[in-house]
Amino acid sequence: MNLEKLKEIVRTVLPSVDVVIGYKKGLDALHPVPCFLTSPDEIDALVLNPACMHNLAAYLPSLKNRAAVVVKGCDSRTVVQLAQEGLIKRENVVVIGVPCQGAVSVRKVLSAIDHQPVIEASFENDTVVIKTKKGEARLALRDVAPDKCLACRYPTPVVADHLAGEEVEPKIDEKTAYQEIREFDARSLEERRAYWMAEFDRCIRCYACRNACPLCVCRESCIAETRDPHWMSQKATQNEKMMFHMIHAIHLAGRCTECGECERACPMGIPVARLKKKINMEMKELFGYEPGISMDDKPPMYTFKVEEEKIEEHKIR
């Protein structure tokens, strides 16, 4: 991540686009926020650090104009996936890639500092320095990285018109990427059920996960809210909460680029990204498919093979 290089790129790109989507300082140093630059005066307000978590590609489908967007490795997959599905036009987007060493989970930071209000935060190489009333805490980036970064295999954007920084080698292989899921799969059925029941129980159906998801493109037509079709009621019961999360996960089957925004957006801290990751793991096993890698791919749920090598007929017992 190289802020100066980024500013330089934005300066050259800005005249050719209507808007540049980047990050600026938010309510504190741990909370940078998306910003929409239209004039060179605003360039100096740009920030770039491991707290820049938002997947800015999420804004692309709703933009009518030509835009440049700052993306990390994971976010770049979203650009590919959106273009592949025809939800954006690749030629309308200038992709400014930032190779990424891993981001910071605010939730993990707060947990590490016992939820003290943050007075100041700064970033040094692989350390986050947090000042609170109780003093200074130095946290290793690895310890406060969101789960998605610990399993990241695409730290360098898979697509970029400009690159703000040196390419970063992935630290993880394909096998370990899904380790977390395999471990969860190893739990008993009852345990898994209990786990999700407790997690879903907290859901307030605010749809932050859905709205933060760059690939949830139904927006106003989401079947969690419509009466025609009438898939769900507005009751705040376990049934309905679970149904909503199943809809979200299944609609992302073979499409989720694992940016983790759903999970980060959830105010209740429900690990919803795991659901999608599980399906992704299965998609990879069944169809050798990974979303958001190649522009020419077809999401596996929207195509088929007459002979499916990996699908065997199930026996009832």
């Binding site: 059920r193 029941m197 149904m243 299944i250 073979g254 399906i279 299965e282 998609m283």
Partner: protein, 150 residues
């Protein structure tokens, strides 16, 4: 009126009109006896079966869900069951992740002439579901005020 307590469990079947519904008809015409638990929803094609219907049924209290379509290559609409196969396979692998026993969901292919295969499928699936017993219910309204009308 719902399932007959103690005798039946709730099993929902989604059958394509052209093959499996016809297969179930053939089984009927041949008087192939079957357990009575299954209730059949007729759809034009297994490709019409959104995996979410299966989820909806399971979440709403179905003890088992069976989807059956034409054999691969024999789809009346030529490709519908190919899509179904991918989507239902995805679902079958996903269900246990959230703690739903994948055995409670079965998908298969039965042609209009395979009355016997249909009988076997229904008999085996029903007996499996009885072995598994009623599906565990979801806890209702846990966080809500122990509500209004106790």
């Amino acid at each position: 009126m719902s399932v007959v307590e103690g005798k039946e469990l709730r099993i929902v079947g989604f059958l394509c009109n052209w093959c499996s519904y016809g297969g179930a008809d053939t089984a009927g015409v041949s008087r192939f006896k079957q357990p009575t638990d299954l209730r059949i929803i007729r759809v034009p094609c297994s490709g019409r079966v959104d995996p979410l219907f299966v989820v909806k049924a399971l979440i709403s209290g179905a003890d088992g869900v069976l989807v059956s379509g034409c054999h691969p290559r024999d789809c009346h609409y030529s490709d519908g069951n190919f899509y179904a196969r991918r989507r239902l396979e995805m679902l079958k692998r996903f269900l246990p992740f959230v703690g739903i026993d994948a055995r409670r969901f079965h998908y298969t292919w039965v042609s209009a002439s395979e009355g016997q295969r249909w009988q076997q499928t229904v008999t085996d699936f029903t007996s499996l579901i009885h072995e598994l017993g009623p599906a565990p219910l979801l806890p209702q309204n846990k966080t809500l005020p122990k509500e209004a009308r106790a």
